[in-house]
């Protein structure tokens, strides 16, 4: 069973005075499994927000299918189990933190006793207990983002959809947001969040989908995506003998000397055994062996290049 299944989602906006069509989504396919943290990655304008708004019925997609909790998306009924944090969320500035959360809780028809308890817990979770009676007009951007998270969790949702949850947060805020997301996973929830900041995704996501120009160009488990593309391995050794140097030179290894250290750069993981055998034969001291995985950043660029090449 998939928590969320999107098939061939398309959306064309009308832009400008002449209502020129602009294709923001060109057939997005996605499948989100239960209890995973899914990172939806893409550069600015690639269609992340458009996808999310379509999922929530805030805009009408032109085509495609959306299934949620193994049922066709049914508007209000489906939304009972979703929590949503919009990109740059806006709230009623004349309400206090307490009032705004109480208002949202009422939209889920949560009983008054339960409301109070849940709101207190959430304010605690996002670290706004102190500011509960403060009007939102006086909130900083980071505080608004925290209120945003609190309101997204007010209904104890099964699926949490966050549009750029880390934006506007300082390093500590980002760390806290990551902890909250990991905590949600521990509670058995599914988290779908968008970002264009790779490090946020890299640290916590089980799977990522990369979206570019309104199409998902690759989806996969993060470990697999990364480990399948281990680029190089760097071995640092101390006091490499001439004999050792010559032997490595013969097998065409790339070496960089600095002082008594030598850095040997292997083209692939498969060479590690062969090279370390040579090194031990010449009783060279190995300082470190570091596999250089492709960072998500490299991966991202690679995937984009692939798509661009196909287009031309």
């Amino acid at each position: 069973m998939a928590i969320l299944e999107i098939e061939g989602l398309t959306k064309t906006y009308r832009v400008g005075f002449f209502n020129r069509p602009y294709s923001a989504l060109n057939g997005v396919d996605l499948k989100i499994e239960p209890n995973e943290i899914f990172g939806y990655l893409g550069p600015n304008g690639s269609g992340k927000t458009t996808t999310i708004k379509s999922i929530l019925g805030l805009i009408r997609p032109d085509g495609g299918k959306i299934r949620m909790f193994d049922q066709p998306f049914s508007g209000v009924e489906s939304k009972r189990n979703i929590g949503y944090l919009p990109e740059n969320p806006y709230f009623y500035t004349y309400l206090t933190a307490l009032e705004v959360l109480d208002f949202y809780a009422q939209l889920f028809e949560i009983r008054k006793v339960d409301r109070e308890k849940r709101i207190n817990n959430l304010l605690e979770l996002v670290g706004l207990s102190e500011a509960r009676h403060q009007v939102l007009r006086n909130f900083s951007k980071g505080m608004l983002q925290r209120i945003g998270i609190a309101q997204a969790l007010i209904n104890d949702p099964k699926l949490v959809i966050l549009d750029e949850p880390m934006s506007g947060l300082d390093p500590i805020g980002r760390k806290e947001m990551r902890d909250i997301i990991l905590d949600l996973k521990d509670q058995g929830k599914t988290v779908f969040f968008s970002s264009h900041i790779l490090s946020d995704v890299e640290m916590i996501c089980d799977r990522v989908g990369i979206v570019f120009k309104g199409k998902v160009i690759s989806v996969g488990k993060l470990e697999e995506m990364l480990s399948s593309t281990v680029k190089a391995v760097e071995i640092t050794v101390k006091r490499l003998s001439h004999a050792g140097y010559d032997e490595l030179q013969k097998s065409d290894e790339k070496m960089i000397h600095s002082g008594e250290n030598t850095l040997i750069i292997l083209r692939s993981e498969d060479d590690i055994d062969r090279v370390t055998t040579i090194l031990t034969k010449h009783t060279t001291k190995i300082v470190s062996i570091i596999p250089h995985k492709t960072s998500l950043e490299d991966l991202f660029v690679q995937q984009l290049e692939k798509v661009l090449k196909n287009e031309n």
């Binding site: 009408r60 209000v76 979703i82 969320p89 806006y90 208002f103 009422q106 939209l107 209904n155």
Partner: protein
């Protein structure tokens, strides 16, 4: 419950808006100051005070509708506060009804405050206001409910300034539409007839809610008039909200 929550919140927004209090104070001042402008002849003074009282309730509430109501939906879209609401299990029609009843509640409180002031003032001046005055105020409120529905309908697709202008024009014509129809009765042009007829049926006839003659001049009114006016108002409001909902239901939230 969802509609109520949205309505209460809309009321709260208005209640925390300073402009509203400024307007209200002006309205109250006008009611109290009416004796300054009224002639000293006894019978007439009462009439002028009631006249001005009813007029200021009507005018100040319409001002509030133009100021608050005409931006009611637009502001939610523009400030994107609507995202976090419609992503929850709330139907779009519930949102519109919540907004509508919220503004009606606001107007009810304002009308109540002004009414109490008017009555207190009349009593202080040694006069005895009749029940007819209260009925007239009730019908002003019904008229306000009609105008609010017009404002909310416009605010679903045009900017606050534009919908305020449209609403004001409708309000203005609404008080004249019967006159315009009568005036053009004698003209030959088919086109003018068509136009005035269209105007007459599309624009709410706000004269149906004007009971000033009864309240101020004690001219009796047939009770079926009350009934028909109320039915007319409900029908009109229903139509306006239906249009607002239909337009709103289809649109993308940008």
């Amino acid at each position: 419950m969802k509609i109520r929550a949205i309505a209460i919140n809309t009321f709260r927004e208005a209640a925390r808006d300073k402009i509203l209090y400024t307007l209200l104070i002006f309205g109250l001042l006008l009611i109290v100051a009416s004796e300054v402008v009224s002639p000293l002849t006894l019978g007439q003074q009462e009439r002028v005070m009631k006249d001005i009282g009813l007029a200021s309730i009507s005018i100040f509430c319409v001002l509030i509708i133009l100021l608050v109501g005409a931006g009611l939906l637009y502001k939610e879209l523009d400030k994107r506060t609507i995202y976090t609401i419609l992503s929850k299990p709330v139907h779009r029609y519930q949102f519109i009804l919540g907004k509508y009843f919220g503004l009606l509640t606001t107007l009810l409180v304002i009308v109540a405050v002004m009414t109490v002031t008017l009555y207190a003032h009349l009593w202080l001046m040694g006069q005895n206001p009749t029940a007819g005055l209260l009925i007239a105020i009730c019908f002003i409120y019904i008229k306000l409910a009609v105008v609010t529905s017009v404002a909310i309908m416009f605010s679903g697709f045009s900017s606050p300034a534009l919908s305020a202008t449209f609403t004001f024009i409708i309000y203005f014509i609404g008080h004249l539409s019967a006159d315009i129809k009568n005036l053009t009765q004698h003209l030959d042009s088919q086109f003018v007839h068509f136009l005035t007829n269209a105007l007459y049926y599309l624009v709410p006839n706000l004269d149906y809610f004007d009971l000033k003659s009864q309240a101020v001049h004690q001219i009796p009114i047939d009770s079926s008039f009350y009934f028909l006016s109320t039915i007319y108002a409900i029908t009109y409001i229903f139509a306006m909200l239906l249009i607002a909902i239909m337009v709103f239901e289809r649109r993308d939230l940008k």
